[in-house]
């Protein structure tokens, strides 16, 4: 009671946040778990069927195809969207002209602000085989025949990986730059006094000092790899679907298009469990607790 009196105002302030999570996160989660054990009909009785939905999903070859696609595309995005912004952040850090640095950051950051619907539309247009900029360069500069990037299964996964990297590069780059700025300048001064070159300063001072930021970025990216959806939804078409349909797309198709909500819920719980497992592994491997 004393505690309540003392911190009452704080509890009141927390209430909306707790209510938000209860209503919009935990209630749907529990409801979804319940649905995954039911023969869920839109109306009428909804009998419990044990693990049948989970078993159906595990015996569905489409689920495993989606799993492979998710791991390949998600893994690719994880690696590229970690490495590319790091390289750019380190490069921008070497730029002395502030105006150039700011403009470069702004240009890099803009795609992050746009939704996938907009970004997808832009790239569908840019990659168009007849009037797209990419193909015009290929034809007029490199004298190659036009290529239908978005209809070729061999390019499909690369397109997903590279576009996701391009879109989120600016945001991650800013996180890295913030990390670089916070490095103690005396470390560089000491390194210079010891005769370290720029490259040695980068390898021996900047990167090790950036370790904690890198761990956070890597963990945040890991949380998202199994949940890729918007990009695939916007950019997919029937000719590349087998190469890009990911787990969330499988869930969407089962639940929304096929109206099989039980198996869809079961599949989404697999995604949840896998994300949890993956996060725990990354935390352990990166020793995240030491950040």
């Amino acid at each position: 009671m004393k505690v309540l009196k003392r911190y009452g105002a704080l509890y009141v302030m927390m209430a909306p946040v707790i209510a938000y999570f209860l209503v919009f996160a935990y209630y749907p989660l529990v409801k979804g778990l319940q649905t995954s054990f039911q023969n869920y009909r839109l109306m009428g009785d909804r009998p419990y069927v044990g693990f049948t939905n989970y078993s159906d999903v595990l015996h569905d070859s489409t689920f495993w195809d989606a799993m492979v696609n998710t791991l390949v595309i998600g893994g690719g995005i994880l690696l590229f969207s970690f490495a590319a912004p790091l390289v750019i952040a380190l490069s921008l850090n070497e730029v002395l002209r502030t105006w150039y640095k700011k403009i470069a950051q702004m240009i890099l950051y803009v795609p992050h602000l746009l939704s996938w619907v907009v970004v997808g539309g832009i790239w569908i247009f840019l990659l168009s085989p007849d009037s797209g900029l990419v193909n015009m360069v290929l034809v007029h500069v490199f004298h190659r025949t036009p290529f239908n990037f978005l209809a070729d299964a061999s390019w499909a996964r690369w397109i997903m990986i590279l576009l996701a990297t391009w879109k989120e590069m600016g945001y991650t780059c800013i996180l890295f730059l913030a990390g670089i700025v916070s490095i103690n300048p005396s470390l560089y001064e000491a390194a210079r006094m010891d005769g370290a070159t720029r490259w040695q300063q980068l390898i021996r001072v900047t990167l090790p000092q950036l370790g904690n930021t890198m761990k956070v970025v890597f963990l945040l990216n890991t949380l998202g790899i199994l949940r890729i959806f918007d990009e695939v939804f916007v950019l997919r078409n029937p000719t590349i679907a087998t190469k890009v349909d990911v787990l969330m797309m499988y869930t969407f198709q089962k639940g929304i298009l096929d109206i099989k909500l039980g198996p869809a819920s079961a599949a989404s719980f697999f995604v949840l469990l896998l994300t949890l497992a993956l996060t725990l592994v990354v935390r352990r491997v990166t020793r995240f607790d030491e950040v």
Binding site: L42, I124, S128, N148, A151, P238, T239, I256, I259
Partner: protein, 492 residues
């Protein structure tokens, strides 16, 4: 914790009730302020006459409320939608709330139903979804209502045979049509044909020659090689061409066995034909990624000479270009599909658009009354021309479209209807009648069996690869067939 939850639930429920109450009252007032006139009296008379044999539809409309979720019916803007609700109130006395999501309609329907939201009428347009909803216990049995209704059971209002489309496996009627649904076919630039002295194509070779000429002979006369012969946006739209090999899209039952003609050897030469068009630059190379909007734009902006699309759009294309430039030479015309070896033309008739009354509807009586009204003259006028004094004005028996009405192409959810007793006041848009004649003569519904959603992914994947030349047609058909067999989606 229990108390907290209880309090929160009470607040949420109370909040919702307050908001709902406010919303209804506003609309009620708007509707009440709308003057009634002779037409509304006629409408009421028509409706009540139509439902004379039906108890529910005869209920007084004064206190009736109706919550509708639909994709096509209503105003073109939120403002016009509000006016549409008021017009329903004026014509029927029913206080209707019309929810028309701007996008992702199917998801909205599913979310609404699975979360227990209560609508009195929901508009759908897919027979596969109807079958699923039957299995999921969503639908109200409307057999008694339809058979006893003097409006809906009248074969001049809706031909008796048409009801077969909306029956469940036990023969019960579970939905009511919202409009007459047409079909798809090749649509050509007739002015380009004339300009290049070409005849309307009949055979596959004729089509090839026409499409090639559209590509190579600068039909738009701008001196640039910037036109395509053909564009399309989905596999079902190429039915008019596949007809030449006697191939029907989706399932065809053969001696009691499930077959998919697009996955048979007979389809190989057809895929090769399309691949040839793509290779020679005659076909729009974006056809794999096109949506229908992009395809339409290509046609309307003189970039392509032929598309595969709905009969109603023949008129819409012509009307849109005429609205833009009254002196335009643009002329879209429907073409028949190519006859097969047996002389038969196979075209696609679209799944019907229809209304359902969900099992949890709060006002089924109002819904039934509205369904009857929808098939009477005032209902059809509202669904086609739109709202009086907004989309059109009426003086005696003469109708006059406003600028907004002209813009809306006489389509507020019902561009065409079944009721033979109701004539279109402005006739049909140019080219539509000929297109509909083709549909009536040759278009049939596609057969969608359980598992089609999975089968379609496989069919589209390989067919589009073969058509775009990414994969040899024979190899694509073999792989398609093998995969369908291995997943038990076809029997032979």
């Amino acid at each position: 914790m229990k108390k907290v939850l209880l309090t929160m639930s009470t607040i949420a429920v109370a909040g919702t009730m307050i908001l709902t109450g406010c919303g209804s009252e506003t609309k009620g007032n708007d509707a009440a302020n709308t003057p009634t006139n002779t037409q509304s009296n006629n409408a009421a008379a028509n409706t009540s006459t139509g439902s004379s044999s039906n108890e529910t539809a005869n209920a007084p409309a004064g206190d009736m409320k109706l919550r509708i979720l639909d994709a096509n019916v209503g105003g073109k803007t939120p403002e016009e939608n509000t006016q549409f609700e008021a017009e329903i109130k004026r014509l029927t006395g029913i206080e209707a709330t019309l929810e028309k999501p701007a996008s992702d309609y199917d998801q909205k329907v599913l979310t609404a139903l699975s979360s227990g939201e209560k609508y009195d009428l929901i508009e759908l347009s897919d027979l596969g979804t109807l079958a699923t909803f039957v299995d999921q216990g969503v639908l109200t049995d409307l057999t008694d209502f339809v058979t006893k209704s003097s409006v809906l059971s009248d074969p001049t209002v809706i031909p008796t045979k048409e009801w077969d489309q909306l029956k469940d496996k036990d023969g019960k009627i579970v939905a009511v049509f919202s409009k007459f649904q047409g079909g798809t076919m090749p649509i050509v630039r007739k002015d380009w044909l004339d300009k290049l002295n070409l005849k309307e194509p009949k055979t596959l070779d004729d089509y090839y020659n026409v499409l090639k000429a559209f590509k190579e002979k600068d039909p738009d006369g701008n001196g640039k090689n910037d036109t395509y012969g053909l564009s399309t946006s989905d596999l079902y739209d190429i039915q008019g061409f596949m007809s030449s090999a006697g191939l029907k899209y989706r399932y065809v039952m053969k001696d009691g066995k499930r077959t998919i003609p697009y996955a048979t050897e007979a389809a190989v030469p057809m895929y090769e034909w399309f691949a040839k068009l793509v290779k020679e630059g005659i076909m729009d190379p974006n056809f794999v990624t096109n949506d229908t909007g992009k395809m339409r734009n290509l046609f309307l902006t003189d970039r392509v000479g032929m598309v595969t699309y709905w009969d109603a759009w023949v008129g819409m294309f012509n009307n849109m270009r005429t609205q833009e430039d009254p002196n335009t030479k643009f002329q879209a015309e429907a073409l028949n599909g190519i006859a097969g070896a047996d002389g038969k033309v196979l075209l696609r008739r679209g799944d019907p658009d229809f209304w359902i009354i969900p099992a949890n509807a709060e006002h089924p009586d109002a819904a039934k009354k509205f369904l009857e009204f929808w098939h009477t003259e005032p209902g059809i006028t509202l669904g086609s021309l739109g709202i009086e004094k907004v989309d059109y004005s009426k003086s005696g028996d003469t109708y006059m479209l406003t600028d907004m009405g002209k813009e809306h192409n006489s389509d507020h959810g019902v561009p065409f209807w079944y009721n033979e007793n109701v004539k279109a006041p402005f006739g049909k848009l140019p080219g539509v009648q000929a297109a509909q004649d083709i549909v009536k003569q040759n278009a049939t519904l596609e057969l969608s069996l359980p598992g089609w959603e999975d089968a379609e992914k496989i069919v589209k994947n390989y067919a589009l690869k073969a058509m775009s030349g990414q994969m040899d047609a024979a190899e694509a058909v073999k792989k398609m067939h093998d995969e369908l067999m291995s997943k038990n989606l076809i029997d032979e």
